[in-house]
């Protein structure tokens, strides 16, 4: 089974910078982003909300023209330019069209004749498992089914590159898991004509589960902080030690401070009056301290385990952890969070003292 797989590039993104807004209030959203997408791979863009990954995806999709830089599509052997298709986080189905009409949308735009159109659409609907629902309207479908329709609509036009913008984040955990495995099955069996998939997500485990290559984005402004190759064989097991180690290391990578901030010996990074605290509720901070203090962590926890235990996403956990670090209640080392003595005292004290400690620091 040691076949050499072709890795020709499909898309080349060079030095892309993008500003949001106009005039002196404009924000730099993407800063000198370089990336290459090759055939036969699933690439993940992983980052927190607001790190510019959706903007980058829309630049590749052609919906946004970046302020600076170039997005180049590399023609294949026959000289054809790659085509792109997209699956949306909010499904973006047209409420007044049936499932069949929604799926036929792209084909109709390409002026495919009616009977071919219908046949291809029915085949795609069959492929994603919604056989029998052709004449249903989107409002009659559940979230998972709607996203399947979105997927069918995207793959029926036979794109070279499939873009997925946080496709499973609007679904519940079980439905998302089913869709992920279904998508991976279709991909590995080669039943879709797609050559490459770009997946934008803020779920670290999803990225490690699905992607061959993960690009970690930092925010403010958005740039590629790290590129990680995932060599684990499919199907991947979440409980596999190698899997968990990789997830941990990515957590660590994402909590790393930017190298431009000097780390002083003996001082927590990021001190100073001018530092802005992340917006987190004090209740949440108190809860986090108590959680880390109690069993089974006893004051020191790995971020991945903590997120699992508390059912939190990266977006929610990281601001809380950073706020604790800024207030000197905890220290972030690698992918672990360790409580400082002040936090331990807080967790062990009763309510009265807790409140006063809270007030003292804020």
């Amino acid at each position: 089974m040691a076949t050499i797989i072709e890795t020709r590039p499909i898309v080349q993104v060079s030095d892309v910078r993008h500003f949001y807004g106009k005039g002196h209030g404009q924000m730099l959203v993407l800063d000198d982003v370089d990336l290459t997408l090759n055939e036969n791979e699933i690439v993940g863009l992983l980052g927190r909300s607001g790190s510019g990954k959706s903007t980058l995806m829309r630049s590749i999709a052609g919906l946004i023209r970046p302020s600076e830089g170039e997005v180049r599509f590399v023609p294949d052997e026959t000289g054809r330019a790659p085509s792109v298709s997209m699956v949306f986080q909010t499904f973006a189905l047209f409420p007044w069209l049936t499932v069949l009409q929604n799926v036929e949308l792209g084909l109709e735009a390409q002026k495919v004749p009616a009977d071919t159109r219908r046949a291809r659409a029915l085949a795609a609907i069959d492929l994603i498992g919604l056989d029998g629902f052709e004449n249903a309207y989107p409002k009659e479908l559940s979230g998972g089914m709607r996203q399947r329709v979105g997927l069918a609509r995207a793959i029926v036009v036979d794109p070279s590159l499939l873009l997925m913008d946080e496709p499973f984040s609007a679904l519940d955990v079980l439905t998302a898991e089913t869709l992920r495995t279904d998508l991976l099955d279709l991909w590995s069996e080669g039943r879709m004509q797609i050559k490459s998939i770009l997946l934008v997500t803020h779920n670290i485990e999803e990225a490690v589960l699905m992607c061959d290559r993960i690009l970690v984005f930092s925010s403010n402004p958005g740039r590629v902080a790290a590129e990680i190759k995932v060599d684990l064989p499919q199907p991947r097991d979440r409980l596999d030690p190698a899997f968990r180690a990789l997830v941990d290391s990515i957590y660590a990578r994402m909590t790393e401070r930017a190298p431009s901030v000097p780390a002083h010996e003996g001082l927590f990074p990021g001190t100073g009056i001018a530092m802005v605290l992340p917006v987190v509720s004090t209740n949440a901070l108190a809860g986090l301290i108590e959680e880390v203090h109690g069993a089974p962590f006893e004051g020191r926890a790995s971020m991945a385990d903590l997120a699992d235990q508390l059912q939190l996403e990266v977006d929610e956990l990281f601001p809380m952890a950073e706020a604790l670090q800024l207030m000197r209640f905890a220290e972030l080392t690698g992918s672990d969070i360790a409580l400082a003595p002040a936090a331990r005292r807080y967790a062990e004290a009763d309510d009265g003292r807790s409140r006063s400690v809270d007030c003292r620091l804020l």
Binding site: L63, M86, Q89, A92, W96, L105, Q110, K139
Partner: protein
């Protein structure tokens, strides 16, 4: 005056209302208003509005319905109440109809009613044709503007000016033109009816186009949907409920305008187009009250029938088919 109104009232309200857009993806262009930004930064404004919010809270506290819990006995009692109210309305309606018919029949005969029916049909044809023409012209323009917030902002004062412009001012020019070129008043007086009301179509279509959610527009862009397919599958269904509102309002306004637009005089020139509006206008001038009553009753019947038979079904269709929720 309109410029002041635009800058200090309209634009801030639009900028404030942007927060109510039901969207999942943030659009890159948002309406801006310097007056709104200024208001938000002042501390005087909440103080100024404090009496109003105080009164609001007081009313809320005093509202009897808010505190009582409905019991089943109350429910059956209110149903009886509903029934009694409906019967009362029904009787009052029948009485009113009887009074009108009695008053009219004193001096007129059934043949007159038949004539008026014919005239009303004529005016109805005019209204329908004018709404169709106005839609053909303003729907594409409205959609174009609605999809581009920058242009919507720029054209707002212009649109407000045009809408506030009293259409009656143009009547004399039209009369002169018709007389000079010996045009048929039946056809050429009609545009006067739609002059003031076509803006309702435009404004509602602009609102409808800007309400099409960003991810639907992105999906359409992604799959390369263009031209007639784009209109048929995306723009027209998207603006449909808004368009129906605009067309309904415009047609109602045009019926009203027919009273002044179908019989127009300027100086010694008198132009007359046959229709219900001119019938009512002539009867008013002649002081023939039974005819006036008949004409107005006929117009009311027509407008209500339109409402029930055309606009209502369109609304239910839009509700059922064109919404996601």
């Amino acid at each position: 005056m309109i410029l002041l109104y635009d800058q200090f009232v309209f634009r801030p309200v639009v900028a404030w209302a942007d927060r109510f857009r039901f969207e999942q993806t943030a659009s890159t262009e948002r309406p801006r208003s310097w007056a709104y930004d200024l208001f938000r930064r002042t501390r005087l404004l909440p103080i100024m509005f404090a009496p109003l919010t105080g009164v609001g809270r007081l009313l809320l506290a005093l509202d009897p319905g808010a505190r009582q819990f409905r019991t089943t006995t109350k429910r059956s009692r209110s149903r009886l109440g509903d029934l009694a109210w409906n019967i009362f309305i029904g009787i009052a309606l029948l009485f009113a109809v009887w009074v009108i018919v009695h008053y009219v029949m004193c001096t007129l005969r059934w043949e007159d009613a038949a004539t008026v029916l014919g005239l009303a049909c004529l005016t109805m044809l005019r209204v329908l044709a004018l709404i169709a023409v106005a839609s053909l012209v303003w729907v594409p323009i409205g959609v174009w503007i609605g999809l581009r917030p920058i242009w919507a902002e720029r054209l707002q004062p212009v649109a407000q000016f045009l809408a506030a412009f009293p259409a009656n001012v143009l009547f004399p020019f039209v009369v002169i033109a018709i007389v000079h070129w010996r045009l048929d008043p039946d056809i050429w007086l009609s545009p006067l009816m739609i002059l003031g009301t076509q803006w309702y179509v435009l404004f509602n279509v602009i609102a409808g186009a800007s309400a099409i959610s960003t991810d639907l527009r992105e999906a359409a862009g992604m799959f390369g949907v263009r031209g007639w397919q784009w209109w048929r599958q995306i723009a027209l269904p998207g603006i449909f409920p808004y368009y129906v509102t605009g067309a309904l309002t415009a047609s109602g306004g045009s019926w009203n305008a027919s009273i002044v637009a179908e019989a127009v005089s300027w100086g010694s020139e008198k132009l007359h187009a046959s229709g219900l509006g001119s019938f009512i206008a002539d009867a008013t001038v002649a002081g023939d009250y039974p005819r006036v009553a008949l004409g107005i009753a006929m117009m009311s019947i027509f407008v209500i029938a339109f409402n029930r038979l055309l606009w209502r079904p369109l609304y239910t269709f839009a509700e059922r088919r064109l919404r996601l929720a």
